[in-house]
Amino acid sequence: MELLKIDHIEKYYGSKSVLTKAIDDISLTVNEGEFVAIMGASGSGKTTLLNCISTIDRVTSGHIFLENTDITTIKGKELNRFRREKLGFIFQDFNLLDTLTAYENIALALSIQKKPAAEIDKAIKKVADQLGITEVLQKYPYQMSGGQKQRVASARAIVTDPKLILADEPTGALDSKSAKLLLERFRYLNTECGATIMMVTHDSFTASYAGRVIFIKDGKIFNEINRGSDSRKQFFDKIIDVVTLLGGDMSDAL
């Protein structure tokens, strides 16, 4: 079933004289239960695309539909409500509140939605178990490793049961072991819990955990490959091929 539909969106920065087209006419759809990775070099427009979907940024033209709602037209309070009820965010720099414990960070996402305290506790226990962070729940962000922080951030993103999880370079600040662990969890959430994940990355290894990879170059969709029945390793090789095709720009991402 079609969850997200992006319809000819454009995003311009700057004035008329110095115009930058961050997104230059992109259209794509994401179905429910999909795990999509968006790849591109620095400055290709991939983060702008994610920001537009997540309503953090506004498009210059075009429409984005989530469950048939045009999110480019909602404003103010409705926008906040939409954001907290339909979307879950995972950021490169974790974005955990340093004054709160892991438990409280996750709880905040629920209490903002005005969920009763009893329900909150149950939900956190469940999600902590899914992400393997039960033992760090009472710790503060500064007491945790990067990988633990990112899994706590992920827990906060999925605890509200969002329609779509948006991840912006989730492995960007992690060492390779932590990154692998996190991605395994993403795949688990995707296959076992049916979560729809859209992830932006410039790392081929990270992208290889997705079911579909969309390549962006200079604000346009350059290529798109499906994993199909390939193993992760095979899919990784395919991604590398496209990256090579994309040119030297991405060679640093190998």
Partner: protein, 679 residues
């Protein structure tokens, strides 16, 4: 090169420096105006009867001075520390470029020099201006002619201010130099990123310290509020110090317990942004225990100063009406070996004045003295204690005796209800100066008998009556004994008082009448050639008393208002700056909240609660301090009468609400602007 760097630094980071400048300028102007004014207080001419009150006032001022200078010192070191912290990245850059710590120290020194000279100049200018403004304000307040109160630029105060602040800047430089040598590059680089460590204090220790400091505070409250007259000056200092330390410890322990208390209700804690709000508050209080203490103490001084000032102003009008029931009083006092006792009317007749021409009604009252009843004999061993409070009493002189008949006549003339009805063997003490009342009552409770010209009298009441004879602008009767008419020996007459109410003609042109009596100036009366043996004469009128009272009250009120207002502004400013810089540091957190979908309303509410509690906490504790501080102040200022204290409390609350509340609102709205979504 260093000079250029320092100068440009200041210009570039003017916004950061604004905070520092602001604090310094406030400090300098406070110091200047305060010093200039306390010097001027002594300049004022006051009548002998109010000398005692001036002494008390001086005691209060000197006590406050110590507190003020201490607070200012801390304030400046604190502000500079705040600035240093905000510039860690900049220092890190210098160090990575290979600048030595010594060079960085030189930059800081240079900057402190610029800031110091600039703020001294600005502060002094503002201070000089402020003192003029305040004098105009107070003069207006009392509708007083402030010609006797000249505001000049006090060279001595300027020099004192410069010297004092030079020392403070020196301390700042040393302090900053020390901080720089301890800096580690890695810490500086990470200063922005490193998240704050939440240190949870040991809850048992917190509760223990909370209980101990509450008990210490309660003890000081009791001693200061209820045992006021048993306090020496060193006792007062001790209780102030105990109070300061207890305040600090209470904030310290509360900061440790607050979060646990808030967390104890899961439902409350996990509602909306509460968890975030509570954590923010807790971390703020945790890192600000010291400044909260200072702010609380400053607010305490503010509340007491304002309330005292207002109550002085309020009671002055009341006092004048109540303690000056008529227009004119003249007194003659005979020398010990006087043969002829000339009355006031006789004396004026010698000047060619017929008193009947000026007074519609008049009454005279004779006073008597017996060598058998002196302060020494009456108060016995308490004398040494009284001597400490009233050092100028002649203890071997007789306490004034008044005939009950004369007293009753005077009371009728004054239009007061009080009458003395005595049996032949009874006496009454009238007194209205609070501190003397205590001593008199002590004697009367012992049922002390007195011997008057061969008559033995016992007290009619076990405490003294609230009353007075001489017209006065405030409570000033230190004790007069009323005895039965038959008990006095007319030969021992010590003097006579004349009380008069102007007739219509004299009252109509009051200025001319007063000028007439001033010109006659009976105080220079030399009756020796007439054999009157008068030791001295004096007279006062309601108009003269009113002027003196306004002068005295103006000084006290001026000082009270001034200290109060400036402290209040300083408190508000510090809290505001603290909160604003906190908001700047928290921008990321609020952005995060927005990203996970928090409502703008909820964020504003959270900010409101945070700012509110931040402002409210020191105010609450200082209000509690003030209840007992005011009890103390009331007894010290009892000579002025503090009958309508409620009105003063309301006025003070209004001022605090306006200024402190104003700061709160400004802070809240500015913070909201800072953390606002910039899209």
């Amino acid at each position: 090169m260093l000079f250029k760097l320092s100068f440009n630094n200041m210009r570039r980071s003017l916004r950061d420096y604004a905070i520092y400048f602001f604090t310094l300028i406030i400090g300098v102007s406070i110091f200047y105006v305060f010093n200039a004014t306390s010097g001027q207080a002594a300049m004022m001419k006051v009548s002998a009867s109010t000398r005692e009150i001036i002494e008390l006032l001086k005691m209060l001022i000197s006590g406050t001075s110590v507190l003020v200078s201490g607070i200012l010192g801390f304030l400046i070191v604190y502000a500079s520390r705040f600035l240093m912290k905000r510039r860690s990245r900049e220092f890190a850059l210098y160090m990575t470029l290979g600048m030595s710590k010594w060079k960085i120290s030189s930059i800081i020194l240079m900057e402190t020099l610029f800031a110091g000279i600039g703020s001294l100049a600005c502060g002094l200018l503002i201070g000089i201006g402020l003192s003029q403004l305040m004098s105009a304000l107070v003069a207006n307040l009392f509708e007083a002619d402030m010609t006797g109160y000249r505001f000049t630029v006090s060279g001595e105060s300027v020099a004192k201010t410069i010297l004092y602040f030079a020392v403070m800047y020196g301390v700042v430089v040393l302090f900053n130099g020390g901080a720089i040598t301890k800096m580690k590059l890695i810490d500086l680089m990470n200063s922005g990123k490193r998240s704050e460590q939440v240190k949870l204090k040991n809850p048992v220790l917190c509760v223990l310290i909370f209980l101990v400091s509450t008990a210490a505070l309660g003890f000081s409250y009791f001693k200061v509020g209820f045992r006021t007259f048993a306090l020496s000056q060193s006792d007062i200092m001790m209780y102030i110090i105990i109070g300061c330390i207890a305040t600090f410890l209470i904030f310290w322990s509360v900061s440790g317990m607050l979060l646990r208390v808030m967390m104890s209700s899961k439902n409350l804690y996990h509602r909306g942004l509460n968890a975030f709000t509570f954590r923010q508050i807790s971390s703020k209080i945790n890192t600000m225990v010291f400044s909260l203490t200072i702010i609380c103490l400053m607010l305490f001084v503010t509340i007491c100063a304002l309330t005292s000032a207002f109550s002085l102003r309020n009671s002055m009008n009341y006092n004048l009406n109540h303690y000056c029931p008529t227009d004119f009083e003249a007194v003659v006092v005979y020398s010990d070996d006087a043969e002829e006792k000339r009355t006031v009317s006789d004396v004026y007749a010698d000047y060619g004045v017929n008193m009947d021409d000026y007074f519609e009604k008049s009454v005279t009252l004779g006073s008597y003295g017996s060598p058998d009843i002196t302060y020494e004999s009456f108060f016995g061993e308490d004398c040494s204690e009284i001597k400490e409070i009233f050092p100028y009493i002649e203890f071997d002189s007789g306490i004034e005796l008044i005939k009950s008949g004369d007293y009753n006549k005077l009371m009728e003339f004054y239009g007061l209800e009080d009458r003395a009805e005595l049996n032949d063997d009874e006496y009454i003490v009238i007194c209205n100066l609070q501190s003397m009342v205590e001593f008199c009552n002590k004697e009367l409770q012992k049922n002390t008998e007195i011997n008057v010209f061969g008559h033995t009298l016992k007290p009619k009441y076990s405490e003294c009556r609230d009353g007075f004879i001489d017209m006065s602008a405030q409570r000033g009767n230190m004790g007069i004994i009323i005895v039965p008419d038959g008990a006095v020996d007319e030969n021992c007459s010590a003097g006579e008082r004349f009380f008069g109410k102007y007739n219509a003609e004299a009252a109509e042109d009051l200025d001319a009448t007063e000028a007439f009596f001033t010109e006659k100036n009976i105080e220079t009366y030399d009756g020796t050639e007439k054999g009157s043996n008068i030791s001295y004469c004096m007279y006062f009128t309601r108009t003269i008393l009113a002027a003196a009272s306004v002068g005295l009250g103006a000084i006290a009120t001026f000082l009270g208002l001034y200290i109060g207002l400036v402290f209040l502004i300083a408190c508000g400013a510090i809290l505001a700056l603290k909160e604003l810089s906190e908001s700047v540091d928290s921008i990321g957190r609020y952005e995060m909240l927005r990203k996970i979908g928090a409502e703008e309303n909820d964020i504003s509410k959270s900010l409101f609660v945070q700012t509110g509690i931040f402002f409210l906490l020191p105010l609450l504790l200082s209000a509690l301090h003030s209840v007992f501080g005011m009890k103390f102040a009331i007894s010290v200022l009892s000579a002025f009468g503090t009958d309508n204290i409620m009105q003063s409390v309301i006025s003070t609350s209004a001022v605090i609400l306006a200024i402190y509340g104003g700061y709160f609102l400004i802070t809240y709205f500015s913070s909201r602007g800072i953390i606002k979504d910039r899209k």
